[in-house]
């Protein structure tokens, strides 16, 4: 992970234009988002034959994955199999050594760091195992933060953030700081923050890993419902079958290779 905020914390980057990409932060919750320039029937996001090593340790060794619009895909596999590295490459956080990542018909690996950062902020959302909310801000301010970084005025950003807290059934925690809410509530706030900018893809890395069964299921139910209603694709890294059961299909990563991708497509 390159930093705490995968959408890029440098505000000056919000003005970097990406040809064919929508201006981030212009979408209302629940409304159709800006259209990414990809063929309607083709994959929205694709990783093709990715290879990546960290030092002499290979993490990916020919991983391939395609994600369609609005599809929830679970990436499964044992610890150390390369599933998180695959997610980070797909999200443009980590550059693969070879292979392609194509989003909306554009090769992500060829974009500059600034453009990839702007793309992450405008088109992608992120949910991690431990929420990674900013402890000094209230939950409402946390959800509003990516909108504020995208240049949306405070009042409008907070109005949209409040709508998303409602949809994730955590209205009551808006004025509290992350340290004052439960793990399950914090994760639902993190999901609201990921969805508030109207992204096309959400990357979720073990989003229920720190929660008990009941809270984990509630997060997944609300998360996948909100994603489906908004037409957002979700790449969900999990080792828990009951979490993967909320997906449309699964892809298994083992020893850096995707095994089931060819079988299910």
């Amino acid at each position: 992970m390159s930093g705490q905020f995968p959408w890029g914390a440098d505000r000056s980057e919000s003005t970097v234009p990406i040809p064919g990409m929508p201006v981030p932060g212009t979408q209302m919750p629940g409304m159709p988002g800006p259209v990414a320039p990809a063929p309607a029937d083709g994959p929205l996001l694709a990783a093709i034959d990715l290879r990546k090593s960290f030092g002499t340790t290979p993490a990916l060794d020919g991983a391939t994955l395609r994600v369609r619009r609005g599809e929830v895909v679970a990436v499964m596999g044992p610890s150390g199999s390369g599933k998180s590295t695959l997610l980070h490459c797909l999200a443009g956080i980590v550059r693969p050594d070879s292979g392609q990542v194509v989003y909306g018909g554009r090769e992500l690996t060829s974009l500059s760091d600034g453009r990839r950062s702007a793309l992450r902020r405008g088109e992608f959302g992120f949910v991690f195992q431990f929420g990674q909310l900013v402890p000094e801000l209230t939950c409402l301010e946390n959800v509003a933060l990516p909108l504020r970084l995208g240049g949306v005025r405070r009042r409008e950003a907070q109005r949209r953030a409040a709508e998303w807290l409602d949809r994730l059934e955590v209205t009551e925690v808006g004025g509290k700081r992350p340290g004052e809410v439960s793990g399950g509530q914090g994760q639902r706030v993190a999901v609201a923050r990921a969805l508030v900018t109207g992204p096309r893809v959400i990357f979720a890395d073990e989003p229920t890993g720190a929660l008990d069964s009941l809270n984990g299921e509630r997060v997944m139910r609300l998360f996948t419902r909100a994603a489906k209603e908004s037409g957002v694709a979700v790449v969900l890294v999990t080792h828990e079958p009951r979490v993967a059961a909320y997906s449309d299909r699964e892809v298994v990563v083992r020893d850096g290779r995707t095994r089931a991708e060819e079988l299910v497509r």
Binding site: R221, P241, A244, A245, E250, R254, L263
Partner: protein, 174 residues
């Protein structure tokens, strides 16, 4: 678990007499329920009748003649079909899955694919149950949860077995 298909898998790895087949079966898959000789010869007779095995040779001995059985091409096709087809997720499924994995290793087939195919089938059922749970009331949710936890246990077993395939291959082929 189908004794006939396990016999076919064992015979594909090498031709055997009825007695040796029973011994292999009991050692590998019988646990505390060894086969009766009646079951062994009834099964072999059925496989012969369907053309899945043939008598390769007859050896005279001190007692009754010993027939050596070999698998036919039709038998190999039957094993291939059985191994490639996922099992219906069920309680105590492990006996059958374990037999399939061992026979795949014995006959040089990719055992990991059997586990992957089964994982896909398990997750398909888990998706169905999850959807039923989301659409139903609390009673439905609790019943579905019970099944989901059992299926999850199966999947853990599949994952562990996947991780131990190399070790199992050495043990099976030693």
């Amino acid at each position: 678990m189908s004794i006939g298909q396990v016999f076919l898998g064992l015979l594909e790895s090498r031709p055997s007499h009825g007695y040796d087949l029973k011994r292999s079966y009991d050692e590998r898959f019988g646990q505390d329920r060894p086969l009766h000789f009646g079951q062994v010869y009834a099964t072999l007779s059925r496989l012969l009748k369907h053309g899945l095995i043939e008598v390769e040779g007859v050896e005279p001995g001190g007692g009754p003649e010993r027939k050596r059985y070999a698998i036919t091409d039709a038998g190999v096709t039957d094993v291939q079909r059985w191994l490639g087809q996922p099992e219906r997720p069920d309680l105590y499924l492990q006996n059958t899955l374990y037999a399939k994995v061992v026979l795949a290793l014995l006959t040089g087939r990719p055992a990991a694919e059997i586990l992957d195919t089964q994982r896909t089938e398990h997750l398909r059922l888990m998706r169905e149950l999850t959807q039923r749970k989301l659409d139903g009331d609390l009673a439905v949710a609790l019943i579905c949860d019970h099944a989901l936890f059992h299926l999850e246990a199966d999947l853990r077993w599949l994952e562990l077995t996947s991780a131990r395939l190399d070790q199992l291959a050495s043990a099976v082929n030693s």
